[in-house]
């Protein structure tokens, strides 16, 4: 089977390529990119004129909720949602029930992700740093690495004890496992449900101060500097955290970081009258923070954009604000929000956009993907994006089981229309039928 993606704008940040050309996929491999002369034996053609052909998008931060919370999301629904969002590889977080802290659960997740009903995207599990996410004893990290985890993180239960984190970094560095750190000093954030600021004072909601994020960011950055362990800071939300990461990078620490679209699209003001769709962790901050996040994205301090897809069932969020869980369903809106708020506004060039959504995430976690170079890509991972299509996000059309999302009804410009993960193809309803031809 030979599939030709014809005449698109090829954006491959791994080789700084931005040129018009074609991509040839044979069975489940990318075999050629650029000006393709030999068009014999082509079975199907997707006309990509005006579209971008990019390395498959890589989402470092996804909650698939399985095992344990299948009413929120399953590996099947979550991977289908990922494919629709333009992703070909996603990293699933360990705060499942039971937690992803041993090799048996790694096997379970990889098996489910490979099942025929799943979305076909590649799932790269992230294992818990400590047993039961309790922040006390280290998990069997080496065994989990053999089973297939690509990083270690205690995610939403960040390790408070600096010595445990220090030892985790020393050991993870030894076995070549990056650490992903959600940075929060829980004594400062305890009981809070939104950004500590003017809006929380007005609404009478307990605030989460920016210091809870920044102190933990600084600690993890310093531990990385001194242990040399690669540390990826998750979901940066404050201007102070951006400054800390800029500083620690200048000192040569192996630190990288991500931002989530909620944090550059929305602010604390969007909570309005206690709207739980906007309850995030870390919380939505202020306009000043958004400005500095955009600056950090532009100057490269912020390496990646991740969805932090955190699905919840509708009954779980139809509760008073302080009782609602943090997070929302975002994986199908992340590319659209990024293109609309960053690329079309000139914050990021198209090539930089794809670098932050694909090449950098793959590079940081040593994943296959993030490139279109046939020799570096064992299995095809390609996304085709219509950068100019205008559409409205509709949660009722989403593949995710969770309809709890702040992006509902948002007008967006740009969408993934085709996603190739190995031999699996997701073709969005928006892709024009007349642009497809089959010759078998």
């Amino acid at each position: 089977m030979k599939t030709l993606l014809r005449n698109g704008r090829i954006l491959d940040p791994s080789q700084n390529m931005d040129e018009i050309g074609s991509v040839l996929i044979e069975n489940d491999q990318v075999v050629e990119i650029g000006k393709i002369e030999d068009l014999s034996d082509i079975d199907e053609v997707y006309d990509c004129t005006g579209f971008w052909i990019t390395p498959g998008l890589v989402d470092m931060h996804v909650h698939l909720r399985e095992p344990g919370d299948e009413h929120k999301e399953t590996i099947i629904s979550g991977t289908q949602a990922a494919a629709a969002g333009g992703y070909t590889t996603i990293c699933c977080m360990p705060n499942t029930s039971p937690p992803l802290d041993n090799p048996a659960i790694v096997d379970f997740i990889l098996d489910r992700a490979a099942s025929p009903e799943a979305g076909g995207v590649f799932v790269a599990p992230v294992g818990a740093i400590t047993k039961g996410l309790k922040g006390e004893e280290l998990s069997n990290l080496a065994a989990m690495k053999r089973a297939g985890i690509v990083a270690a993180s205690d995610e939403g239960f960040p390790i408070q004890n600096s010595q445990i984190m220090n030892r985790a970094m020393v050991f993870c560095n030894q076995i070549g496992l990056p650490i992903m750190a959600h940075c929060d000093d829980s004594n400062l954030s305890k009981g809070g449900s939104m950004n500590e600021g003017a809006v929380s004072a007005m609404l009478g909601l307990q605030g989460i101060p920016r210091t809870s994020e920044e102190i933990a960011t600084m600690r993890n950055c310093l531990l990385s500097l001194h242990t040399r362990c690669p540390v990826h800071i998750m979901r940066v939300s404050t201007w102070g955290a951006v400054e800390i990461i800029r500083l620690i990078k200048s000192l040569g620490a192996p630190v990288t970081c991500e931002v989530c679209p909620m944090h550059f699209v929305f602010t604390e003001d969007d909570i309005g009258e206690f709207d739980t769709k906007f309850k995030m962790q870390p919380p939505l901050r202020t306009k000043v923070d958004v400005e500095l996040l955009l600056q950090g994205l532009q100057d490269g301090t912020i390496d990646c954009i991740a969805s932090d897809h955190s699905p919840h069932a509708s009954h779980e969020v139809d509760v008073p604000f302080d009782e609602a869980p943090f997070g929302a369903s975002t994986i199908e809106a992340t590319l659209g929000a990024t293109l609309t708020y960053l690329t079309h506004r000139g914050i990021l060039s198209p090539l930089e956009t794809i670098r932050k959504l694909s090449t950098m995430p793959a590079f940081i976690l040593n994943l296959d993907g993030g490139t279109l170079k046939p020799e570096d890509l064992p299995v095809a991972q390609v996304t085709v994006i219509d950068p100019d299509v205008e559409w409205t996000f509709d949660r009722n059309k989403s593949f995710s089981k969770s309809k709890n999302t702040p992006f509902h009804k948002m007008k967006m410009k740009g969408k993934a229309v085709l996603t190739f993960s190995g031999s699996e193809i997701y073709r969005d309803a928006i892709y024009p039928a007349e642009r497809y031809a089959i010759y078998i």
């Binding site: 929380s200 004072a201 009478g204 909601l205």
Partner: protein, 304 residues
């Protein structure tokens, strides 16, 4: 037309003054032994998720004066302890044809959720640290009976402002009706970012109540010590207690108010609480009349 009474913050000024006028009218009628409107077929659900005797009894008394029936839902005995969500409790009451709901809840914003699912009027009897609108109305009525207008009055709200729904509702109401609001307390108990709240913050009592026409004391919760917000009850009292000594800084004839329950000897001393300037019992009394007005208004009644 049914209305909710959830937050002073979002209420137009004419609705606030209308409610205050209505409450004054009801008070005059009750005191003169005249008839007030009868709302005989109306059943009110009193849903108190937090303990409160004074506010609950005040709403019950208001309902009684209007001829309404009130039905108490003691939440410890209700289905909430069996894991029922707030939404389902509200839906149940709605379909039992309870006409209106008075709710107190530990979570800020909970009455908005209740209103979304209930359909009929929802009256907020205190939500978390957000608002307690009928308390603010009672306080305003009490001031108006003595000062004729709120315009230009200096009102100092003293104590644990950050955690107080009474402080927020009062600040909004007094500010909207033209008073100069000051929020006074130690910095650990003042909102760290007060720019979207009405009023000016003061951390020194003398300055905060200097020239005050009204002082509203707030109750100090003892758990603030364990949370590191105050060092000791004694130190707090020495810095922020309203007593004869500190009242010298206020204007002559300054009213001293307290939403209760009082910690005598902490935020206010014994002599002042029972003294001539204190109007604490009048606040309680007016609470009944503003709640009558609130019921009448929420069910579509107008000022006669």
């Amino acid at each position: 037309m049914n209305r909710n009474l959830i937050a002073i913050r979002t209420m137009p000024n004419d609705e606030i003054t209308g409610l205050l006028d209505l409450a004054a009218e009801f008070k005059a009628k009750i005191n003169a032994g005249e008839d007030v409107p009868s709302m005989k077929k109306t059943v009110i659900g009193l849903l108190f998720f937090e303990n409160s005797t004074r506010t609950r009894v005040s709403f019950e008394q208001a309902a009684f004066y209007l001829g309404m029936r009130s039905s108490n839902f003691a939440t410890s005995a209700s289905s909430m302890t069996k894991g029922e969500t707030l939404k389902d409790t509200i839906l149940t009451l709605r379909h039992e044809r309870i006409n209106g709901l008075v709710m107190r809840h530990k979570s800020s914003g909970a009455p908005m959720l209740a209103a979304k699912h209930f359909g009929g009027p929802v009256l907020n009897a205190g939500d978390g640290q957000h608002e307690h609108p009928t308390q603010a109305l009672a306080d305003a009525l009490t001031i108006l009976e003595r000062k004729t207008s709120l315009e230009g009055l200096n009102v100092s709200i003293v104590g644990d402002v950050e955690h107080s729904r009474v402080a927020r509702s009062n600040a909004w109401l007094l500010d909207k009706l033209g008073a100069n609001v000051r929020l006074v307390g130690p910095r650990t108990l003042l909102p760290p970012h007060p720019s979207m709240l009405p009023g000016e913050c003061y951390d020194e009592l003398e300055e905060g109540i200097s020239g005050a026409d009204v002082i509203i004391c707030l109750r100090l919760q003892r758990e603030r010590m364990a949370e590191g917000m105050i060092s000791s009850i004694g130190e707090y009292a020495s810095l922020y207690q309203i007593n004869a000594d500190t009242l010298r800084f206020a204007n002559p004839g300054c009213l001293v108010m307290h939403p209760g329950p009082i910690n005598r000897g902490v935020e206010i001393d014994d002599v002042t609480a029972d003294g001539d300037s204190a109007v604490i019992n009048q606040q309680v009394e007016n609470g009944v009349f503003v709640r009558m007005a609130a019921f009448y208004w929420c069910f579509g009644g107008q000022q006669s």
